[in-house]
Amino acid sequence: MSNQHQLERELEEFLTQSRLPIVDLYSKLPQPQPNAQLDQQVLKQARQALVQDAAKPAQVLTKPAARRIHTRWPIALSSAASVVFAAGLALHFGMENWRAQENSPASTTSSSATKVGQVHRSDSPEPKIDTNEATPAQTSSPSAPAAEAVKPETTDAAALNDATYMHKELSVDQVSPATPSPSDTTQKLEEPPPSPNTAQGSAAPLSPPAASAPITEFARDPEATDKRTQPAFPQTSDERQRTMMTDRAATLRTRNAEATKPQIAGAMQKSAAPAAATSLAMPKSAPTPTNAAVATVPTAEAWIAKIRAMVQAGQHEQAISSLKQLHEKYPNYPLPLDLRPLLP
């Protein structure tokens, strides 16, 4: 126990006092020193390090700047890319909405003519849509009694359309006349420009929206494009229009291609459009378009030009009639101010 106590005391003295026998003894030990060569090596190394430091500042000054540039670029690029992406999305969806509005009568008409009555009977908050849906059905079937029944409503709808023209004039005028819609473009590609006589002579021309929308879809669908090149399908413009009425019609035609082949062949021999293919695609209650109805349809701009020509030629009755037809076919097309007085 005393030994332990002595050790503790020695340790305390060792840690606190500098003059101890053991420390004195240690100080008498040989005191080795680093040799001169070792000293020179260490000092040389220290000097070289400073020389390297002196050479570095240029790099040190340039590196952070470069790093700052490198760190700033991705932020700027990503911000710009985000803005472009957002603008592209907005433009895309805006165009989609606009196209949907433009093509809405076509899609509803092509899907089922029986919907027309239902839509007219319902109290829709958007009467303009009702008009758009009803108008093609009426114009495409002059002999249909149902179309005769809804004519007064069509007139009211036309009046409503006039009201909406004023509302949409600013937005549509900026886009539509300058840049024709893709459906119109596709229509131009698909069919040759019609003659004025054909457009005027047709008692009930085919509704352009009804034809343009399927054409657009058909043009976008590569499978349908491939099918179009097959010889089993009708090759005339009438048949093509009817073929492109709806996707459903194309599908049904594909399924029943073998069954319809003789009819199509017969129709081609007669150079007339048979109703067989369309009857497969359209409901039984839907009216079958005639040759006049499926005649080539002019674009709205060309039509307007022809109407203006009629007005200038003094053919006011024909101009009014043609303008009515134009308005029925293109209910959303903004009528020029000089032609609006012609409409009742």
């Binding site: 840690l15 053991i22 080795p32 070792l38 260490v42 190394q45 390090a49 430091d53």
Partner: protein
């Protein structure tokens, strides 16, 4: 300016000014990091002997001591930009050396087998303290201290050397070695007991 007794034979390109002589180690190191070579020379003059002896007595080999001495200063030079005067410079320098010593000890630790160890223990002379009739001369005491220092476990030897050679206190030894103060105390206690047992001081 009086030259340092330990560095009188060294051809230093610069002589430390009186101002540098009065500057603390920490400021000298900061000055060297800023490009002042004279500050480093002053620093080197102050610590070269103490550091070398600490390393030499820990390594028990001149060549190894030279190598570790140079490596210690190399590491200090390399870390000049990162140096922060949070502790005494001597503690910082000895910590670098101690890490090197420990690494070297781990690499070169003798791996004697059981039979070899038994043979060494059998052929060893009896400790001098076991011979009470013998009065040790001062030379014999110094020789005994050298031998006992060589025989001490590395941790105890380092703790002892940091105290007697570098004059560090308990807290500083603990900082350099990375051990707790009680652990350092215990190591010093064992080291003192073995030295007293061997040389009878």
């Amino acid at each position: 300016m009086p030259s340092h007794p330990l560095t009188a034979d060294i051809d230093f390109p610069y002589s430390a000014s009186p101002m540098l002589e009065e500057t603390t180690d920490e400021h000298l190191m900061l000055a060297y990091a800023q490009g002042d070579m004279r500050a480093f020379e002053t620093l080197y003059q102050r610590h070269r002997g103490t550091l070398y002896r600490f390393i030499f007595r820990s390594a028990n080999n001149r060549a190894t001591a030279d190598e570790m001495f140079q490596e210690t200063w190399s590491r200090l030079i390399a870390a000049r930009a990162r140096y922060r005067p949070e502790a005494k410079f001597s503690t910082y320098l000895l910590q670098i050396a101690q890490n090197l010593i420990v690494d070297t000890y781990r690499r070169t630790r003798p791996q004697a087998g059981a039979e070899e160890t038994e043979e060494i223990m059998r052929t060893l002379d009896a400790p001098e303290s076991d011979q009470p009739d013998r009065i040790l001369s001062e030379f014999e005491q110094r020789r005994g201290l050298q031998r006992v220092l060589e025989d001490l476990p590395a941790e105890q030897r380092i703790a002892f050397l940091l105290r007697v050679e570098s004059g560090l206190g308990l807290e500083e030894i603990a900082r350099v070695t990375g051990a707790g103060q009680e652990t350092v105390k215990s190591r010093l206690r064992y080291a003192l007991a073995k030295i007293r047992e061997r040389i009878g001081t």
